[in-house]
Structures are given as structure tokens and as C-alpha cells.
Amino acid sequence: MSAATYTIEGRTGPWELVIGLEVHAQVISRAKLFSGAATAFGAEPNTQVSFVDAGFPGMLPVINRECVAQAVRTGLGLNARINLWSRFDRKNYFYADLPQGYQISQYAHPIVGSGAVEIELPDGTTKRIGITRLHLEQDAGKSLHDQHPTKTFVDLNRSGIALMEIVSEPDMRSPEEAGAYLAKLRQIMRYLGTCDGNMEEGSLRADVNVSVRRPGEGYRTRCEVKNINSIRFVMQAIEAEARRQIAVWEEGGEVEQETRLFDTGRGVTRSMRSKEEAHDYRYFPDPDLPPLVLDEAWVEELRRTLPELPDARKARYMRDFGLPAYDASVLVAEKETAAYYEEVARGRDPKLAANWVMGDLFAALNRTRRTIADPPVSARDLGALLDLMRDGTLSGKLAKEVFEAMVETGRPPGAIVEERGLRQVTDTGAIEAAVAKVLAANADKVAEYKAGKEKLFGFFVGQVMKAMQGKANPALVNELLKRALG
């Protein structure tokens, strides 16, 4: 636990924050939750819509088994209870992009019950955040208000796509914790392959519940800030909403429970709907769908085939590879980075591999604006480069040079070494000749060295390397110089 509690200093004293998140994560699946229509992002409007998704008369939902499996995998990844019996309810409301006039969701009996994730804070401490539940539901379509001066256009491609709503306990106490929690959820789901976590495309969105209180108090009224689509905005929205509530309380007012939106431009939250328009969703069990009953053996099979999750992987890197906690965290942050690292490290010095990935490779990614999924140097080529260092073909300095050439050309290190003649010289005869030449040309320095000025050894190494155009094996240079200087 972090020792210091995060507070916001108000006019009348410090205030604590209480934060809970409802995260909507789009399930990775080829087809929608209750129809066979495709789910690819970015398709032409209304091209991925079945009659079920468009709410045509007589159309019926049929549950997609893969979406259920994805929800179960996610539940297992969140260390949560899997409910073998769950049920779908209808949430009734009218909107132009809600074709059925109701959303099929799991209100009373979610597929996943309580669980927890551990978040890591910048100061290195960790904290457990409780998961209340995870349930499956349909996404709505999209209303486009900017396509026509007086009309709203509706795109139903998203209508019926499977979402997981993941509800946390009100366990977070600072914007940073909320950000770390959302990042952790995204990381776990990416590892599981259950949600791509792409917040720009809307596959991960968060509703934030915020309240403030005096230290030691119970909960005060909370407000929900809806539909935030980046971790940074989540943190900003929490801060802005907390400050707004503090001002209300400090002015003697009363915070009213309501739904608000975050204005990213102005950095403030504003009220979304008034109480007069408060919805009564008239939830009731969807009579088109029998209860969802899972076979325990099937759940166990999913558990057995779950990939290694980031926490376990980090622990393994520290234990088996001897990496420091920080390095291990960085390498497991993205599934693709970890996969890259492991390929480089396989059969090689894991610490050296970590240094290259976190140092030269990350720098190259930054410089070339590419991602680990599409790196300028493949893991295999970087591994080969490490091999060339180990067998003495390349010195550390030469390896850096070869790496830069690899980034530039995309060619494997062996080819670059051959083409540019960068192979380091291990021919003792050539090095001995260079040593002799250097010592002869610097007789005064040799005398000083012999008189006790041992610092000059580095100077001789530099001169020999220079004479060899940097291609000499440094270990050999050292050895031969020492012998010559006697």
C-alpha cells in the first residue's frame, strides 16, 4: 500500500477521492453477440448488419458461443468467479440507433462475478482493485449528427457487437490509480486476446464514478462521467469532476447523483440529462433467450488453455532471467513486446537481450515511429546480432553500428557485416603489428607508462583500435598490448 493518501486541498481542507470504473470492452470475435454479421472496424456504414441487428419483425437472437468463451476467459484473467448460470435481460429504451427498442444485457445475473486485479503505481507500490462483475451485452449502433444539416444518419455496423461491461469496486483513490487500473485491464485483455483495447476506435470505453469525502468519512453522493475514450481523459475527468464536487460541497451545496459528460476541450464535466428525463429501463428477462448454462468442464478447458498473463510473466522474468522488477514490468507491458523479448532472449543472455530491447530497439521504434508489432528490426535479426557479439565477430561498438544499419536497411546483421566489412579482426598477427606500430610512434608515452602512469593504457587501446579502424577484437587488443608493454 502506498503510505500517502492522495487528497485534493479544498478551501476548507483536504478531500479524498472515491473512484469506481465501468469499462465497456468490445469482445474480439468474428461475429456479433446474437447474429452472424461481421464485426470488422471501419467498414462502409450499414454493411455489417443482419436482419437481427436491424430489429426486423420476427428476428430472434442466437447467442454466439465464441463471445461467451471470451467473456469467460476475461473473467478467469480477472481472477473472478465464473457463474455457470447466467441470464440475459432486456433494457428497454427508445433511440434511433437502438433498432430493437431494447438492449440485450445481463442485469440481474451476470456471467462473471467478483474478482480482482493488482495495479502497480509509479512509486513501485501495488494495490488490489476489486472487480464487482463482468457481463455481456449488445452494443448499439452509431448516430451521425454531422452528415446532414437537419437529419441524423444511423450506422448499424456496431449494432449487436458483443461488449463486456466490467464493473469495479469503488476501490480507487486517485486519478493515477484509475489510470493504472484501466491500463491493467487493457493489458490483461490484450494478453487474453479478448479485447484489442483500442480506445481510439472505441473498443474500450470507460464510465467513471466519482465522489469526494473528508478523510475518514463514509461515501458521499457520486456522479457518473460517461463514455471516456482514453486513459489520459479518464484521469483528467476524475480530477475535474472531483474539483467540481468539492466546490459544490464547500459552497454549502449538495452534489446530486447524475450522469455527466467530460468536455475534453475545456477540461470540465457537464450534466448530460436532467432528472425529468431519467430512464426507467423496465428490465425483464429476455424471453427469446433461455438462461445461459455453462458446462464446468468447458470452463476448465478454457482455464487450462489460458495464455500466461502479465503478472505471471513478470514474475518469471524476475525469477528465471534475473531481471530487475522495473525491466520485467516494461517488457511485459505489451504482449507483443514480451513476445519479441522472449524470442531475442531464447538461448542467449537474458539481461543483455533486455538491454538491447529496452535500449536500442525502443529508441529505434521511437525514431522510426513504428510499433513493436511492426518493428524495423525483427526479433530474429536482433538475436542474430547478439550471437555475432558472443562469437566475437562483432565488438559492442561495431554491433551498435550494425544495428543502426539494420534499422536503416531492414537487412539481417550477417549480410551487413559481409557487405561493409565490419567483421572484427581476431588475427593476432595484424593486431600485434598495429600494437608495435603504436608503441613505436609513442615512445614517450610508453616511458611514462612504465614509470607508473598506468592510466595511459586506455590511450594505447584507443590508438590501436583507431589503427585497426575499430574492427579489432577489444579483448585481444588488451591482451596483446599488456604483453607488449610487459
Partner: protein
């Protein structure tokens, strides 16, 4: 023999013998439709060209020796079943121009088996009604009329009133219906024909415009029990497109019609003996039980103690589901749209739904919305679901003692058009004997058993165990044989 007087079984035999062609059979029925529909208004849409085309195809297939189980049989299809390329209205203005691009599973299976569709049958709007008076396409007239008052036009019952009237008047050999609270059995009884609502899950609901999803079930109408059995076989079967359709084998229902009822135990529920029930219906019920005893069945008085709560529970559950099922008719994607220049989305919803739905549909949407509302849900919807479970338990206990249950199908014979319209509850009482089978998901069959003093048909109902339609057919066929019901409606083909 007039082609329109055939039974389905008889027509199949005649077609196979070459005594008649599918084209002749279909043409005779289309002529009957042309002659009688202007008066009865049983069909909303007549698909004469498609029917003749299908009949020609049927004759060609039969000539090639590739006849299918219903090859060339002309049927009417309740206009609640979506039919690809053919307008499907649900009896409502809001779907008045709706042409579905897809086919319901039940009608697809009937086509697969060679049936010929004459057209789409009239119904109460969204299947909500017991008189066919709520159709946006006008009421249907019952082909029967009172012996001493032939001028008073009677209702065919509802909601499948057009289907029942068409079959009774010999405009079709059979028809499809749907039954949510009695919408097949009550019109069958009012029109002197046979209709069965099979077990919930027996027929796919895919492509049937939904009224109350947990109660809706498709079933056939015909003029004999065996014909219903033949049609039901084609309509039944598991459908992966309907999650509530059952994975159970489809037996040869027609074969079950010949089964003896000897040794069967027939339950007689004492709660179905209502105060004020017409003596003729009481007498007919007793008569039916006598017939079954004469065939070797044993009758057993049973109790279904929660029967009196069935109707109120039904009129909570069905409107609740309907209020949600009908939310999709909003003018956005298909069907009627009414908008005012400058109006917003909400304005369009209100105008569209105000103009598109009739009074009974609006009433049920409002009731349903009310019973699902926060603060009322527990007292109404949840309580009704508990009642439903108790009614199902009543039946479960009964099945320990009996193999089938026999009751009257309706508390009265067909009534006059316009009667019972003042107070909706009077109309709802029509369903008193039939809703229990829907609430418990059980098969129920109505079979004509006699006439009342006015010469109007009266029916008995046979209720069976889940997925035991075979026993229901056996008992229904035994009543049919004993009743030897030969009376004919005044309005019919060739009359």
C-alpha cells in the same frame, strides 16, 4: 366431390391417384377465395399468381415421381408469418407496407414439403384479440351464423380469425395460425374446425412477428384432426435460429390419430366448471367424456388449483413482453413513418406509433409498460411469473394421475361482431380455458364436438403433456369420431 371439400389427407390421395391435379385444386380454392373473400375478409393479401405457379411446379414434381409430403396442398398463411417478397402486415397499419426479404421457418418448411400458399390470412392486430375485430384491415366474418338470426354477422374468434374462417368456408384446405393465449383454439372452436397449439418450442418462432415471445406458438388449422396432424409434422422441428425451439424428434403425428384411447386416464379439472357457463357447453363437455369412456378411457376428476389466477397472470405477462417486442416499430427502418416538418426524433416516434397502432395494441403496450415499470415490476410482472410457475406445477402434478385433460374450448359460441367491445375484460374472458396451456407451454387442441341451440359450433379442448401431441391427437380423434360433426357453415364454397 367438389375440390374444396377435400380433406388434406383426401386431397393428397386424390392427387397421388391422379383424380385431380394441383392446378385444379389450387384454382378451385382461388375461385372460392374470389367468391367469398369480399364478404368474409379472411385474407388480407391473395397471392393467386404465385399459388398457380407453385401448383404447376407441384404437378411437375408429382409427374416426375418427386412428390413431397404436402405436394400441391393449398393453404392460407396467417399474416403474422413473414413470407419473402410477400407483404406481411401483422394486421397493423404500422406494417401495412412491409415486405420481408426473408421467410419464416414454419412457412419455409411448409414450402419445402410442397404446400401451395393462397395468401395471407387476416388476424387481430399483432395477434392481440379474440374476435378479429382489431385488424387494421377490417374484421373477418364467421362463415357460420345463427339458425334463427342469419342476418347477424358473427366473429370468427381471434386472433387467427382469418385462418379459421378461410378453412371453415373451404377457401383453403388448411391454414397456419399462432396461439399466445388461445388464438388458434378459440377461432377453431368458433368456426367448427380443428386447431392445435403444440408444445412451446415444437415449432420455430423465427420469422413470426412476435407478440409475447414466451407464449407464442405456431400451429395448424384444418377440418379434421388427422389433417392437423399432417400439417403439424411439416411445421415442427428444431431450428437453430430460434433459441427456444426444442431439440426433440418430430413423430408421425398422423399415425397417432388412429391410436386407441383405451386405458388412457382423462383428467377433468373441477376449476374449469365456471359459474354462469352455458348449460349447453357443460352438457357437451359431459358428452365428450362419455364418448371417451365408451372408447375405454377412464375419466378422473382432478384439481388445477391456480386456474383462477391464470387469466390475470396472462394479461400481465403477455402485454409486458408485447410492450418490449413492439418497441421496434418506430418508423426508423421500415414500415409506417409519420413525421412533421421540423419535428424531432421523439415527435416522429409519437406520431408514427399513434397513427400505426390500433386501440387494443396501444392498451396492451401501456399495460405492459406499466407492469414492468420501476416500483410495479415486483407486484405485477414478478408475481405473475410466480403464478405461472404455480400453474405449471398444477399440471405437473396432474400428469402423475392422468394422460390428457379435456375441457371446453371456449366459454361461449361465436358472438356477434361488435359485441363484447365495450369492456376489454369481457373480451379477455374468451381465453379463460385456453391461456393455461400457453402459460404452462403445453399442447392444446380444439375439436368441434357439437352445435348449440342456435346451430353454432362448440368445441372441446384436449391438453396434453409437454411434447406429447400424439396423445392429444389420439384423444381429439376419438372425440371427432364419436361426435361425427357434419354440420356446415352457411357461407362456404359451392353453397
Amino acid at each position: 366431390m367438389r375440390p374444396t371439400d377435400f380433406t388434406v389427407a383426401g386431397a393428397l390421395a386424390a392427387l397421388e391417384e391422379g383424380a385431380i391435379s394441383a392446378v385444379e385444386l389450387t384454382r378451385a380454392h382461388l375461385e372460392a377465395v374470389e367468391a367469398l373473400n369480399p364478404r368474409l375478409n379472411a385474407l388480407i393479401t391473395v397471392t393467386a399468381d404465385q399459388a398457380m405457379e407453385a401448383a404447376r411446379e407441384s404437378d411437375a414434381r408429382r409427374a416426375r415421381g418427386e412428390a413431397r409430403p404436402l405436394e400441391g396442398i393449398p393453404l392460407a398463411i396467417k399474416d403474422l408469418f413473414c413470407t419473402a417478397g410477400v407483404r406481411t402486415t401483422a394486421g397493423s397499419r404500422i406494417l401495412g407496407n412491409f415486405v420481408p426479404p426473408y421467410e419464416s421457418t414454419v412457412t419455409a418448411q411448409l414450402r419445402r414439403d410442397g404446400a401451395v400458399f393462397l395468401g395471407k390470412a387476416n388476424l387481430d392486430e399483432f395477434a392481440m384479440g379474440s374476435s378479429n375485430m382489431t385488424s387494421a384491415f377490417g374484421p373477418v366474418e364467421n362463415p357460420w351464423s345463427r339458425r334463427n338470426d342469419p342476418g347477424t354477422r358473427l366473429v370468427p374468434g381471434g386472433s387467427s380469425g382469418g385462418s379459421a374462417a378461410a378453412v371453415a368456408a373451404r377457401m383453403a384446405l388448411g391454414a397456419t395460425g399462432t396461439d399466445t393465449g388461445g388464438s388458434i383454439r378459440q377461432p377453431a372452436a368458433f368456426c367448427g374446425i380443428v386447431g392445435i397449439k403444440p408444445t412451446y418450442g415444437r415449432c420455430s418462432r423465427y420469422g413470426i412477428v412476435a407478440f409475447a415471445s414466451s407464449l407464442d406458438q405456431a400451429g395448424p388449422f384444418a377440418r379434421t384432426v388427422e389433417d392437423c396432424a399432417i400439417l403439424l409434422r411439416s411445421m415442427s422441428g428444431h431450428d437453430p435460429k430460434d433459441s427456444t425451439s426444442a431439440r426433440v424428434p418430430v413423430p408421425d403425428f398422423a399415425a397417432a390419430c388412429a391410436r386407441s384411447v383405451k386405458g388412457l386416464r382423462i383428467g377433468v379439472p373441477r376449476e374449469y366448471r365456471l359459474d354462469g357457463m352455458p348449460a349447453e357447453i357443460e352438457a357437451l363437455w359431459r358428452q365428450g367424456l362419455d364418448w371417451l369412456r365408451a372408447e375405454g378411457a377412464e375419466t378422473v376428476e382432478i384439481s388445477l388449483p391456480h386456474t383462477k389466477y391464470a387469466l390475470p397472470a396472462y394479461y400481465i405477462v403477455a402485454p409486458a413482453e408485447a410492450s418490449s417486442n413492439l418497441a421496434r416499430y418506430d418508423g426508423v427502418r421500415y414500415g409506417l413513418r409519420v413525421e412533421e416538418k421540423g419535428g424531432d426524433l421523439r415527435d416522429m416516434y409519437e406520431r408514427t406509433r399513434a397513427a400505426g397502432f390500433g386501440a387494443e395494441v396501444k392498451r396492451r403496450i401501456m399495460i405492459g409498460t406499466y407492469v414492468l415499470s420501476a416500483g410495479y415490476y415486483e407486484a405485477y410482472y414478478l408475481k405473475a411469473q410466480k403464478v405461472r410457475a404455480l400453474i405449471a406445477r398444477d399440471f405437473d402434478r396432474a400428469w402423475e394421475r392422468v394422460d390428457a385433460i379435456v375441457t371446453p374450448a371456449t366459454p361461449s359460441a361465436a358472438f356477434a361482431m361488435g359485441a363484447k367491445m365495450g369492456d376489454p375484460v369481457t373480451m379477455y374472458l374468451n381465453d379463460v380455458f385456453t391461456v393455461t396451456a400457453n402459460l404452462a407451454g403445453l399442447p392444446g387442441l380444439a375439436v368441434p364436438a357439437g352445435l348449440d341451440a342456435e346451430g353454432l359450433p362448440l368445441g372441446l379442448q384436449v391438453i396434453g403433456r409437454p411434447f406429447d401431441e400424439e396423445t392429444v391427437f389420439a384423444v381429439g380423434a376419438a372425440i371427432e369420431r364419436a361426435a361425427d360433426f357434419r354440420a356446415l357453415p352457411r357461407v362456404r364454397a359451392g353453397a
